[in-house]
Amino acid sequence: MSEQLRFTKEHEWILVKGDVVRIGISDYAQSELGDIVFVDLPDVGDHVEEGEGFAALESVKAVSDVYSPVGGEITAINEELEDSPELVNESPMDRGWIVEIKVDGVVQVDDLMNKEEYEAFLKEV
């Protein structure tokens, strides 16, 4: 099954694998936030609505909500972040992933940006 990587205007990335999406934040987002010192993760089994904040990233000075571009059930959380929140800074697109969500219904990615579109979007930010 092919994977599709998409980005939101709020700087989350989502990796679509069938009806499961993995969510994290972009390299641009981690660099804007600075040193992440705590990740407030949801519980596996929680249900999130599209557009709902489901996790919080805390840097020394600021807290930032992470929003879900899809609705569904949390099927996995990145437990490594509990002890190593800095992974979000060091490896935002890979080891710093945050959650996986099993999407309600069909995954709609048409409104989201692909990598090239996101890079173009960043130039305007």
Binding site: E10, A29, G34, D40, E58, S59, V60, A62, S64
Partner: protein, 376 residues
């Protein structure tokens, strides 16, 4: 993802000519600083990152551009009575070369600003918060006593702070003097490149440190020399982000967060800077009455028992779930590596060791009031 960092929202963009710059703005840009709008100034919020910068000041030495701060001069025969009329502390005890922390208060006891008063040979210097400078100037001008002259020196002066355990040898080397006899909260005048530099042993970090006030023309040279001569000590430039975590770790209040016009110095735990036995000053009657009756709320410091980081505005509750106050400052302490906070609570909960709760988003997290500083 949405970032609640107020300063980030107003991030400085190229071509924005509205903000004031300091003589060091180009230096900060060249050092790769992230610049933000702070009190109308374009200031560096971070260079290498808040964690690393905080550590540098705690273990080595850091330099800060604080040129946004305001400096006023009061001279003339009425200078002392003016200072003593607008501030809560007693400036009459100051000898030339001494400094005191004090508050400007309104008639209702609310804090207009928290400031430093320097006793100079000609009168007084007042060092005020950037965001309050215009308001403070107008207030002091309105309450000037006869034969007093008030002058705003802010635009002429650059302020660099040198803070950390290695600050003394660095300052000695740059200025060619010994600071062995320069005690905390005192200052002296030295000459650098033929120009006057006011050197005070003060700071806002909880570390040994100095603040240097001098003509703008010296700014680039002094800044560069701090970086060059400080290299062997591991010096680094420090932004406003680390300045905030350093002062919070040292349990120092920040105007706009922990103190403001709706809060009295007695509520903020600043009673030792309020001298009710001195002659009349603005707010004295109110503060006298508040002291006799006792305050209803107090600024407290707390550490988290449960997970989570307290942030400004989060509600504080008792263990029964009733709201008893709110967080005014909070962060993950870079030095201690755990969350710390300050906030106002109903006096019944202000005692050390009292357990309270912080509402962090949808969850309630336990916290404990502490006595004294966060740092050992």
């Amino acid at each position: 993802m949405y970032c609640q960092w107020q300063e980030e929202k107003t991030m400085v963009r190229k071509g924005d000519g509205q903000l004031k710059q300091t003589p060091l703005t180009e230096k900060h840009r060249a050092l790769g600083a992230r610049m933000v709008d702070y009190a109308g100034f374009e200031m560096p919020v971070q260079y290498a990152g808040v964690l690393e910068e905080t550590k540098t000041v705690r273990t080595k030495v850091g330099i800060f551009d604080l040129t946004h701060m305001g400096e006023f001069e009061l001279t003339g025969p009425g200078a002392l009575s003016t200072v003593n009329y607008v501030t809560t502390n007693d400036a009459s005890v100051l000898k030339v070369g001494e400094i005191q922390y004090t508050c400007l208060t309104k008639e209702d006891g609310g804090i207009i600003d928290d400031i430093l008063v320097y006793r100079t040979a000609d009168g007084f210097w007042l060092v005020v918060n950037a965001a309050n400078a215009a308001k403070d100037y107008a207030w002091i001008e309105k309450h000037l006593q006869p034969e007093t002259e008030l002058k705003d020196l802010s635009d002429e002066l650059t302020l660099i702070a040198v803070q950390g355990p290695k600050s003394a040898p660095l300052v000695e080397e740059i200025l060619g003097i010994s600071v062995a006899d320069l005690k905390g909260y005192t200052f002296t005048e030295v000459t650098y490149e033929g120009e006057k530099v006011l050197l005070s042993r003060t700071g806002y970090t909880g570390e040994d440190g100095f603040e240097l006030y001098f003509a703008n023309t010296l700014a680039e040279k002094l800044w560069d020399e701090c970086l060059q001569k400080g290299e062997k000590y591991g010096v680094a430039p420090i932004g406003l982000g680390a300045r905030d975590s350093l002062r919070l770790e040292a349990r120092m209040p920040l105007y706009g967060n922990d103190i403001g016009e709706e809060i009295s110095p007695l509520e903020a735990g600043l009673s030792r800077f309020v001298k009710l036995d001195k002659e009349s000053f603005i707010g004295k009657e109110f503060l006298q009455k508040q002291k006799e009756e006792g305050v209803q709320r107090r600024l407290v410091a707390f550490v988290m028992v449960d997970k989570g980081i307290p942030r400004q505005g989060y509600p504080l509750l008792n263990l029964e779930g009733e709201e008893i106050g709110a967080v005014t400052s909070g962060t993950h302490s870079p030095t201690l590596d755990y969350p710390i906070g300050m906030g106002y609570v109903d006096v019944a909960y202000a005692k050390a060791e009292t357990e309270i709760q912080v509402q962090i988003r949808k969850k309630l997290a336990k916290a404990k009031i502490i006595k004294g500083r966060f740092l050992a």
